[in-house]
Point group: D2
Chain length 354, copies 4
């Protein structure tokens, strides 16, 4: 099968670099276009990108000429993955969709928009029904993945919601620096320090969970009625968002049942063999001091959610700790998994150059 040609919008940022890293050598997709800001356009990827994931950007893309993020410059691509900042995404993503592109977005711009599926493949692949008619008509659409700190949470809540029902969730996040991008915090801010605010993050978590766990009724998503409260913190780790969660289930469950349900979770993609899908979406650790960001963030290539310390909560009944790689599972890898899901479901098409 010839690979789909993918364009990356926002290819020089941190999530963009993660996308490049994972798309080089991808079995289903090949990088056709790299888009960035006006300032970068025209220079090679190596020149315009300050590569931070190791010594050098992959040889396969280093000489690639960077483009502006405009529809007419991505004519040679079948679809695009967007790692644009929200502001730019707000204008750019609809333009691509209107031009007929499937836009697999990591930005927050349209996550809450009606008609735009907010998808974590293991959890709510069925929400893709929202774009199936557009797809059938070879029209463009936007599919998004959730916020980096929502992803790990929702993967963990999904099997619990299905089996026991979930009523209330209080989550405290300890989020890594890479979550704020290349131009985020200054170094002095996080030396010997923690910042107890990530602007907009708590609201995103509190809102996105309900949409993702919502039930599709026709082409409408009915939000799940789960009360979610988030406390977000930026800590001085590089990668890996850790989350401590208290959960009230709708019906009582023994801890052993919870462990069993989480550990055996396969999700809605089990049968599809998506290249980026972890063999198990959730890995359970039994040590009392795990998961830890540096040790566990790369489990299953950064695509697993690692859960530990499953224990009773004196207030809500159940508590646990989870970790997921914010830049992989929570961003680039999540978007890529969505793209793979679209491909597997026949929702990507080969564009023919106008």
């Amino acid at each position: 099968m010839e690979p789909f040609r993918v364009g990356i919008l926002g290819a020089t940022g941190l999530v963009g670099q993660r996308l490049v890293e994972r798309l080089v050598g991808h079995p289903w997709f090949s990088i056709s276009g790299l888009g960035a800001s006006e300032r970068s356009a025209g220079r090679t990827y190596s020149e315009s990108c300050r590569w931070v994931l190791g010594s050098d950007a992959p040889r396969e893309v280093s000489a690639h000429r960077v483009r502006r993020c405009r529809v007419d410059e991505f004519d040679d691509c079948d679809f695009v993955i967007s790692a644009l900042d929200t502001g730019v995404a707000t204008e750019t993503e609809p333009a691509f969709a209107e031009a007929g592109f499937a836009v697999v977005s990591n930005s927050s711009a349209f996550r809450e928009a009606e008609g735009v599926p907010l998808v974590v493949p293991e959890v709510n692949s069925d929400h893709l029904a929202l774009i199936e008619s557009a797809s059938r008509a070879a029209r463009g659409y936007i599919v998004t993945n959730p916020n980096c700190s929502t992803t790990g949470l929702v993967v963990t809540l999904a099997p619990l919601a299905e089996r026991f029902g979930v009523r209330k969730v209080i989550v405290a996040t300890l989020q890594a620096i890479s979550g704020s991008g290349l131009d985020g915090h200054r170094a002095w801010e996080l030396v010997d320090n923690v910042i107890p605010e990530i602007r907009g993050e708590e609201g995103k978590i509190e809102s996105e969970v309900g949409k993702i766990l919502g039930r599709r009724e026709g082409s409408v998503i009915r939000r799940a009625e789960i009360a979610v409260s988030a406390h977000c913190h930026r800590v001085g780790t590089l990668d890996g968002h850790l989350e401590s969660v208290s959960i009230e289930l709708a019906r009582p469950a023994a801890l052993s049942e919870v462990v069993e349900v989480l550990g055996s979770f396969k999700g809605q993609t089990g049968a599809l063999s998506l290249p980026s899908a972890p063999s198990s979406p959730i890995l359970i650790r039994s040590e009392s001091d795990r998961p830890q960001p540096r040790l566990d963030r790369d489990a299953e290539g950064g695509m697993a959610v690692v859960v530990g310390r499953i224990r009773p909560c004196p207030v809500l009944g159940l508590k646990l700790v989870l970790l997921s790689h914010n830049a992989v599972r929570g961003a680039a890898g999540g978007a890529l998994l969505n793209a793979e899901l679209l491909a597997a479901r026949g929702l990507l098409s080969r564009r023919v150059r106008g």
Copy 2:
């Protein structure tokens, strides 16, 4: 007034050093004895102590000869403050109390013991009634302060409990490295990492809050009926425990009321002018990204609890962030404030050398 002569048990550890730092030049107390392990005994304080609070241990104590933590070696002291590890404290503190010493303890050994007051002066000075008869009879006793992460929490909950009632609390802590003492975590553990466990800590918080906020009935403390759930994390900061808290009040309160109640809290020590007491036990910050450990831990000499981000919690009703200096307010400063309270209440006496 001649100062009371104080002996420090466990003077070379991290809390011991903080005690030394704060007792040098203290208006009511003078250091008479410095106790440490067998290994240190006989050497000067400078020789036996690896001072970590700056360039050098204070000149006033550097040549002081360190003693073993035995009753007969502290004959020249009026009372002792104990910064011993729990294991050693379990045997040593009762020995001192039985020999007639007032033992102001920072250890966890007897916090939950009946008859031992667990005191935060602003919150429950009245619990000292438990030892008043012992004191009157010039007999020894133990008074303790809570766990370093309990202190900030309970100072914040106290005015809320008094005004609105508190039913449920979920707290996530981001605790500093100094909380694990001089021999705690190895350096590689916390580089680019977080450890989601502090052994025993969650249970201490969940239990101590109820005792401290409990009501004294005669010489018995009736625990407050508050369900508390703690998630504890060790992060790579040096000092200052940050805590994100969700609270269910017994009766509804507007956020403005909460701010007012917290900000105007004076506590039970307001009139006593204790030397270590902060002018306000709680400082409110209105910025959306505060308190932060490095910026706010030294507020009021490390004795204030700094509270910020007071906002609605979708699950429990109210949430906020608090910070207190674990080694000062949560340990050495807290113990010292207890000692000052005892002095002000006439519960310390001058021992006469046998």
Copy 3:
């Protein structure tokens, strides 16, 4: 004596904040004007300054109205201290000098300019001769202090140069984050990392040492003939530049002599009792693992240079480690000490409002 009224140019940056911190309560100077960029002008200091040295900017200045850094807005000041970035300083400092102000500058703009003394009071107070005639004529002038990493080095070299002669110096610096200012490195750059470059820094060190240790001949400075080679590194500490130095002396010296010469160094300010002068410009530590930034940077209020590990160098003869607080001794404190020196030498005058 009525204090001189000082204006701070660049008052909201990191060095500016350190100046404010040290000028509040200063016995000889009082803050009259706080200058910052166009953007800040007109707002209060608290509003325009992101204070990073603790909870809050000092109450004494928080309501102060910030001005633009223009001569006509500092009419009520007797002199100015400049913490401006080099670019702005290049235009602003001469304007103030031409208007008759003594400009005590921390910027690098005019350090190498002929006629501008580059002064570390303990080392080369006599270089002030360069501006004495200007001062006598009540005309303005610029006096500068060296680069933050030059200061500690030159304080250490000065007594060695005087007693033994210094021929060659190789210095490796491990510089703190605060040296790059509020808008310096991004947080991800220094997590689990070191950056082996500080732009322009090596050249500054290699050049400034010769000027400062140079001999004044009339109103000209003849540079000292010392070959200096610097290797500069940015590490993840907050404050305190550590420097490991190999030195070739002009005539052989026993290590004990070196220790004696360094430890007894008083410098050219010994008799002047300048308020910011450390009681000893150099503190010697005998432990094999000192100085360390966090433990030793605040020695003598951050104004001492702490030297340790004095030992033979197999290549150049002598090696040692030194530490100085980059933002205090190496910047704000150094500039302030220069201002105090000017005052003590009668080189400041009270300006009368036109």
Copy 4:
């Protein structure tokens, strides 16, 4: 070819874990025995080892039963690689050698011993002549690799020494935490701090360079006459030793020549195709702020030495920055490369069980 069966002495420590990581799936060697302290013996590798290189120890060894480091327990191995601490190594390694084992050691115990080759394959493979007769007689011997901070330095100096001669070297190291092992520094020591001492390290570097770059004359190594001076610092990075070096060459060289000589260095192993050998022992970077530990330590699987900032030194003529992965190139990978060299040179033999 059937793989040689290797035993790892000290398999649970940090270097031992790196050896395990690199030996799993190795084309020439298979792990036959894992040795550790008395305390660990009898338990599985997973139980006895606190694995710190990711989520879990490799499945291939996790159930392996750990042995004591005694000759009679390694009867099923053809040779051993020792990652023992110096103290234990001093007794254990000779016992294995006397029993006929080839002992490939990473410890410092016998590096300076006459008759023991101190080998970096690219640099001085010919030094193996020292053990060739022992090997021919099927007797045991010890071969060592240098200190973790010596390796990168000597790989860089070797081509310069061969082409231009090297007379003097001053090196400042910024060494990572993993260099101090699992039981090294406490976390509080390196928060916002640097430690300017690594016990014994400077002497090792200053001595080992001369032996490695020495000339073999018959079965004797004549040390190279190079004056080396080292300044060692521990910084808060996890892996990767950075070294800033000033070098005096014996005959002048243009910078371009230096770049060419370093960049084209193939070393003495070029023809052997050792599995762990990097394709280029030295990688040159042209950016002014590289190499950096986090970005460059894993170049060529952690086996390359990355060199940058080649520039003139005002004192010794030439200066540069180099980086090598201390735990890989400087320890486990270096030892393994030595073992591969021994195999390729026919110096390993298959032991037959007594």
